[in-house]
Each structure stands twice: as C-alpha cells, then as structure tokens.
Symmetry: C2
C-alpha cells in the first residue's frame, strides 16, 4: 500500500476530546430541554433513497446532495455483466440518444431510438456530437450508478419516517433528532460539508400551544447554555400574505419578502430600489413603508398591523395567531418576567417563505456578532410530498456550530476537566505500580474516573500528560507513601500537595 500524508475531505472536521466535551455539553443541554417538553428522540439512516430526497430542496439544493455510488459494482470483476444490465435497461426504457437541448438543459424525448449493445457505444462516436453524447451517457448512467444519497437535512427524512411509520405513531408526534447532515456546499468559514442539525418538530397538532412552547424551549435551552441576551424573532406567513394582498400584489409576495428581508443589511432605500426592480410601484412602496418600518413594542406593532390589514382576512388571521402565541407564552411564564423582553415581532422575517405557512421563528444572540443561531416555523403539509395529506407540522432547529462559536467567544463553556479523568496515579517503578493497582480499583469503585500512568516514565512526562489531559489531581506514590499508607495528592491547578490515606482522597475527590 502506498503511504501518503493523510488529509481530510474539504469541509469536514475531526473533533478532539476537548471539542467533543464542549459539543456534548451543547447537545446534552438542548436534548434535556426537548425531553422536558415531551419530545422523544428518533434517528434515521444517514443514507436515503435518492428519490426520497430529490425535488425537495429546489434545483440548487438538489445539486448539493451527496450521492453514493452503487456499491462496488464499478470496480469489481463483473463489469461486463453490469454493462449488459445497463444496455438492457437502456433498451427496456427506450432510451433516447443524440438530441440534447442545450437551451433547456434537458434531453429531448422526441425521437426514441431502440438500442443494442453496440449502438450505445457507436452513438458515442462522431466529432459533432461527442460532448453532447458524453453528457447523455453520464445522464443516463447517473441513476444507474447512484440510487442513494446522504441526508441533506432532518426534515425530509422525518416526513419520510412519519409516512412509513404512521400506523405505529400516536399523533401528535413530538420528536427531536440530533444527527449530522451533508451538503456539497463550497466550504468557507463556519460552513461545513458535514454538520449536525438539532431539530424538534411536532406533527399532527394545529394548536398554537406548540409554537408557544418552542419559544420557551429556545429560551430555556439558551439560558441553560449561559446566554443572557438574545432575541427570539417571530413572524407569520399569513401576515406577509395579508400585506401583499393589501397593496394589491398577492402574486408578488415572494419578491416582496425577499426584498424586505434585507432591511437590516441594505436599509430602507435599498429595499425601495429592490422593490421597484421587482415590479412594485412607488404607490405600493408608500403603502408598504409603515409596515416595513414598524416600530415599538410588540403590542404597538400588532395594533398598527391590525389597522393596516383591516380588510385582509388572511392578514388578520396571521395577527390573531401571533396574539394567541403571545397569550400562551404569557400564561406559561407567569413567574418569569424576563422572558417577554426577548420575543420580538419582526415582519421582515421570511426564512424560506415557500416552506412555512404559519408562524416563523428566528433566534439571534445580542452578545456576539453572528447570524441566526436557530430558526423554524409551521408548514401545513409536511408529509404531502410522500402522499400523506393534511398533517400539519411545526418545528425548530438549533444551529449547534454557531452556538459553539458563541459560547467559545463568551467563554461560557464549563470547566471541561470535570468531564475527563479526575485523578492520575503516577508510576515510579514496578513496586509502586503493583502498590497502585488496588488503589486504582478503589478509586474506580467509588465512581472516580482514574488512570494509572502505564509505564515508569520520567515524572516530568507523567505530569505533562496530566496537564495535557486537564487532569486536576495526581497521586504520587513513592517509598514514603508505601511505608506510611499516606499518599501524596497533588492539586494540579494550585500545585498544593497533601498526604492523605486513600479513604480521605476518595472523599475529597467525590
């Protein structure tokens, strides 16, 4: 085997013990809150059938799906058989060759050609059509060589799960899921090709209590992670529909929201320019202005919106939904006056508008400059893509990687030492090692994470090992200690040393 310096695929990461402790801290904190609110964990396979995933994320998304080569077939000894199978399948499917339309980027299906073994390959010759034919071959080949792909998010697999397991599920189904997803995005700072999603969704319950509880879940999880100042933004797709309706351009709702979503970045003048480009008139923008620039407390905003949207049934419905959510939240937080200040009605919030049908959420920290650290919303037809109609869903997601960066920057991770080895026993020589073994056993029997350095290396090396592993205590055992039964316990942070018997050490470390 050839020896090359190993490397990692672009956009992927190793996690060291120190990083894992921190990542687990984030995941465990969030999971604990999910469970407290009645959410149960599921897991789905890393690979899904390609047809489960394609068409669910738009054209751009489809391109970012990592596809898996059918196993082994293309490098084993059966290649001739494989070719025969492909050929046969070409024939059975009446595959068309030779009419690839560059403008539509599609294979023309006008002229079906019946093929045999040789025709496929013959069709590949000829200077004029070489590239086109090659593209065709690849196009025809791709579904033959890849039928599986890595999951792109947790939502589509969840919908697939619900449809496949509908008879076993007692609805409403409250599930959480923390697993990696893969996207063939161009890697850049903070964007990885493999990253964890951390989702909770409930399917089969239209109650807005769920929305309210998600706000509480965000609040409780982020508070438990030590964040002090963050904003949970809320909006409602129906309010956006109402606004588009009021200005008489319901068909331009997507253009409208794409433009006003940028208010933070490009300001009102920028938004105006974009709205004009996207087919709105100055009169429209005049009507939009008070809505876009909505100021004040949530109650004031709702009051203004009620008057603006007075004639839009759907718009008023959206306002009512937001009010119901606020009501639930206030009843659920009677003892917690601080929470209300972190919720903000933001009608510029859109987040994948085509997906959401009701409330939309987004969470931002105000302590560090960082994009959103969470988001979600309601989608009325979660499982429709797999033929199960009328199941409404609402869910949220935590951006674990960004939360990691935020906690790191604010120095909010708890001392990692607590999670690793608590005490290292030094190893002076064979006699001391033998003496140490029952002590090691006693420490572990008391549930203290303990190690004996596995060889009589220089003490300096053993100490560096304890340092590198963040081990807070070292037990030194030499001749004196063995004679007296009083072991030297060294506190690695303060450098203090104490002579204690093993019972005293155990009680100190516990």
């Amino acid at each position: 085997m050839s020896i090359t310096k190993p490397s990692l695929p672009k956009g992927t990461r190793d996690f060291s013990p120190q990083e894992m402790v921190k990542r687990n801290y984030i995941f465990d904190t969030i999971k604990t809150v999910f469970k407290k609110y009645g959410y149960a964990e599921i897991q789905t396979p890393s690979m899904e059938n390609l047809q489960t995933l394609t068409g669910k994320y738009g054209d751009e998304g489809d391109k970012l799906i990592f596809k898996i080569l059918n196993s082994g077939e293309y490098i084993d000894k059966n290649s001739v058989e494989i070719i025969q199978k492909i050929t046969q399948s070409f024939q059975e499917n009446n595959v068309q060759i030779g009419s690839f339309d560059n403008s539509t980027n599609k294979v023309s299906t006008e002229i079906p050609v019946s093929l045999d073994d040789l025709n496929i390959f013959n069709a590949l010759s000829g200077a004029e059509n070489a590239k086109t034919n090659y593209r065709l071959l690849i196009n025809q080949l791709t579904p033959k060589i890849s039928e599986k792909a890595l999951r792109y998010d947790l939502t589509v697999p969840f919908a697939r799960y619900v449809v496949m397991h509908q008879s076993e599920i007692s609805f409403p189904f409250k599930r959480f899921q923390v697993q990696p997803v893969w996207r063939a995005d161009r890697p850049q700072k903070g964007r990885y090709r493999e990253f964890y999603q951390c989702d909770a969704d409930v399917v089969g319950s239209p109650s807005l209590l769920n929305e309210a509880e998600f706000i509480l879940i965000y609040h409780e999880a982020l508070k438990n992670l030590g964040l002090k100042d963050f904003t949970i933004k809320i909006n409602n797709r129906k309010i956006l529909s109402g606004i588009a309706e009021i200005i008489g351009k319901p068909e331009l709702i997507v253009d409208m929201t794409v433009a006003i979503d940028k208010l933070d970045k490009i300001g009102f003048d920028g938004v105006t320019k974009e709205l004009l480009e996207r087919g709105f008139s100055n009169a429209d923008i005049e009507k939009l202005k008070p809505v876009i620039l909505l100021q004040g407390a949530n109650e004031e905003k709702l009051l203004s919106l009620k008057s603006v949207l007075a004639t839009s049934t759907i718009g008023l419905k959206g306002i009512e939904e937001i009010e119901t959510v606020f009501n639930y939240v206030s009843k659920l937080t009677t003892h917690n006056t601080q929470l209300a200040t972190t919720i903000e009605l933001d009608i510029t919030l859109a987040r994948g508008l085509n997906y959401y049908t009701g409330c939309i959420f987004e969470v931002k920290t105000n302590e560090v400059a960082m994009g959103s650290i969470g988001g979600g919303g309601r989608y009325d037809d979660l499982t429709g893509m797999f033929g199960l109609k009328d199941l409404t869903g609402v869910g949220i997601s935590f951006g674990a990687d960004r939360i990691y960066d935020v906690l790191e920057e604010l120095n909010l991770f708890p001392a990692s030492a607590a999670q690793g080895t608590k005490v290292l026993i030094s190893n002076f020589d064979e006699i001391a090692e033998l003496y140490a073994l029952p002590i090691l056993q006693q420490l572990r029997a008391a549930n203290i994470s303990a190690e004996l350095y596995p060889s009589a290396a220089k003490l300096k090396k053993q100490m560096s090992y304890a340092d590198a592993k963040n081990i807070p205590y070292v037990i030194l055992i030499g001749g004196d200690e063995m004679n007296s039964g009083l072991l030297t316990l060294k506190d690695m942070e303060s450098g203090d040393q104490q002579k204690l018997d093993i019972a005293a050490i155990i009680s100190k470390l516990n």
Copy 2:
C-alpha cells in the same frame, strides 16, 4: 414532484423513540465506563478521502466501501467543462486505451496512447472493442467521479487522526469513539449496511496494563448492562506463532489458525481434515492435538503450553504476556472474586490474525445463543499505514447491535418510561387549558418532563396518547379540580386516582 411510497435503502434502519431510549442506554453505559478508565471521546467525519481507506481492509473489504460521487458535478450545467477536465487529465496521465486483458482482468499498460477530446470518444466505437473500451472508460472514470467514501470502521480513521494530530496529542492517547460505519455487505438478519461501532483504543503504550484494563472495562460495562454470565476470551498471537514454530511450519500459521479457529463448529475431526488439506502432516497434527484440545483452568493451560512451547522464544513470550495480563487483572480485582471466572485462555481464538500482533480478545454471552458481542487486540503498527512508525496500539470494540438483541431477549432494559414524559395534563376545554398552563410551567420548573395535550380531544384519545408514549401519570383538570385546586392525578399503570394540590403532585413525581 412525483409522489411515491417512500422506503429505506436496503440494510438501513429507522430508530423509534422506544428504540432510541434503549440504544442510548447501551451507549451511555459503555461510555461511562470508558470515561471512568480515562478514555476521552473523539469523532471523525463520516467521509474520508478514498485513498485513506482503500488498501486497508483487503480486496474484499475494498469492495464493500461506499463511495461518494463527486458533488453534483455530473448533473449540473458544467458537464462540458467537466469533460474537458477529464480529457485533460487523461492526457496528462497518458491514459491507455484499447488493451484490456481479460485473463488478468487488468488494463495493459504496454501501449500508451495520447488522447484528445475526440479520441476518447472515438476510441469507444468499434464493435470488437466496445465492451472493453466501455469498461476502460468506467475504470478511468471512477477515480474522477469519486474521491471520497464513507468510513468502513473506526480504526483506520483513528490511525489517520493520530497521524494528523500527532503534535497536539500527549501520548499514550486513550480515546473512545462511538459512531456509525457503513459497509456494502449483503444485508441479512443482524447485518446492516449502517451500524454503530463502539471502540476504545490506546495508542503509544506497550504496557500490558492496558490489556488488563480492557478486560475490566468489558467486565464492568457488561455487568452494568445487567449481563450475568459471559466469557472474556483471551489469546496471544505470539502463542500461535510459537505453536506453528514448534511443529516446524511457521509459514503455515495462517492456515493453522484458520483451521483451529473452527474447532467449536466442526470438532477435532473436522479440524484434522482441514489441517491435512492445508498442508499439515499427520505427525504435525499429532503435535498440535494437545494444544488444540487444551483443557482445564487457565493456570493448567498455561502450564501445558509452557512445556509444549519450551523451545520457542516467541511462544514463551506470548505466555509471559498472558501471565502479566492475568497478574494485573488479579491485582485490580482484589475485592472481586467473581471476575476471574469469566476470563478464559482460548488458543483457538484468532480474529483477523494478520492484524493483531499481541493479545487478542473476544467476548461471548453464555445466556443467549449469539456470536461474539465484543472483540479486539493489540496491533503493533497502527499508524504505519500513514507513515508514522513504531506506535503500538491496543483496542476493543463492543457489538452494540448484538448487545441490544441480547438485552431485549433477556428483558434487561430498564423501564423506558423513566426517560420520557413523566406526566400529561389532559385538556378538557379552553378554560381548563388556560388553567393548566401555569401548572405546566410549575412542573417543568421542578424539572419534571411534562406535556399539556394540545387540543380538547376526546379523553379516550388523550389517554391512548399517554399509553402509547408510556407516560406514567396523567393530571385530569375539570370543573371540580379548578374550583378546589385539588387536581386528579391518575397512575396509568395501577389506574389509581388521587386528588392532590400541585405542590403534592410535584413532590410525588420528583
């Protein structure tokens, strides 16, 4: 988008909430023991560069590696560019076309052909060479369309990790890793294409204390999982080498071990037959017989082996290693007389002999008919495959899926209810719902996992929901309850109902 009934790729599984609770119980129990013995968690990416993996698992293993198509390129609009790149690469690499040798199944490299855009495709025409050329195209194409693969085990990625991070690591490096691996094996009962491995390894320490501690880790983890009767088998590659040396056939060590490894299944007669077929004489087998049929306690076996291997340096070294491990174990278990009975020296144990260089482990439960539920051993040159020499490693693995089946069969999983929602508040109507909200908040503030049924559905439906989710308590709130402040707490298992105020409920549930 087309709606098809969704399905899962062959050999992959969804895990329901009930299954996840059980799986997490297994993983958490094992991880807790790993940590107690000073092992720290790492994670590596799901995908590795293809060249990191190929050549590490033998020809058969290589075929079972799931390869990932280079992202999106083959279905996006840049196919022409891609073709140009491939063509260029064909040219630069002086790719040979047209001389595929069917007998050796290899591409003849006798006649290099310089190619251009068209030559590739032209080369693909012609009746005579069509299949060969097609095969060639695929062979040349495969490395172009796939450069990444899903990890096949946790050991090679760990070796890669150690080499890449050697400057940050303080050796000996004790790591554990619990992540899925993927193999394109033919799925069958108990064999999946995606499954979790659960490994602990230490690299950079030749001390046999590590081997002894792995025995303790197996013992403690399996005991904590509730298993009562299991055997930890141990062998040593050096003893096997010694035996082959003594009978004068050191070059046949692999044949010898493959044959005697089957003793359990085919008996001594079967082993004799296989040894004869594999080049051993009747005289050899006569010498082997007492070794193969070694009986008695470990001490007796060691005594017999010492006399049989008296003239083999390597054999005696193997015996010494086993004795050292036994010694360590006994010193580490002075307060635990039960442990020793579960360790068995089994010189028929081989387990991937070419891999291991010292001690070899395998664990079997005696309570259920099941293959091994764990295994491992020492490999003297773990990181040599990536150019970092002289780092010895030793590690073990738990077979989580099999352990799951064992615990299920022996009914050893703890009541899963403890991990889910503890109490459901019923929802009679809007007024009762409003009344319930602060109660829900109080329950959760007391860290009790609680839910309010999100709509005023029929009580029967709400009760079924609690049943299906294994929720042990339901709080019923109707007119009486709201008037008196005494809520009805129903114990779902016994059916008993009690009227209690919220403080009493909280203290009862905590």
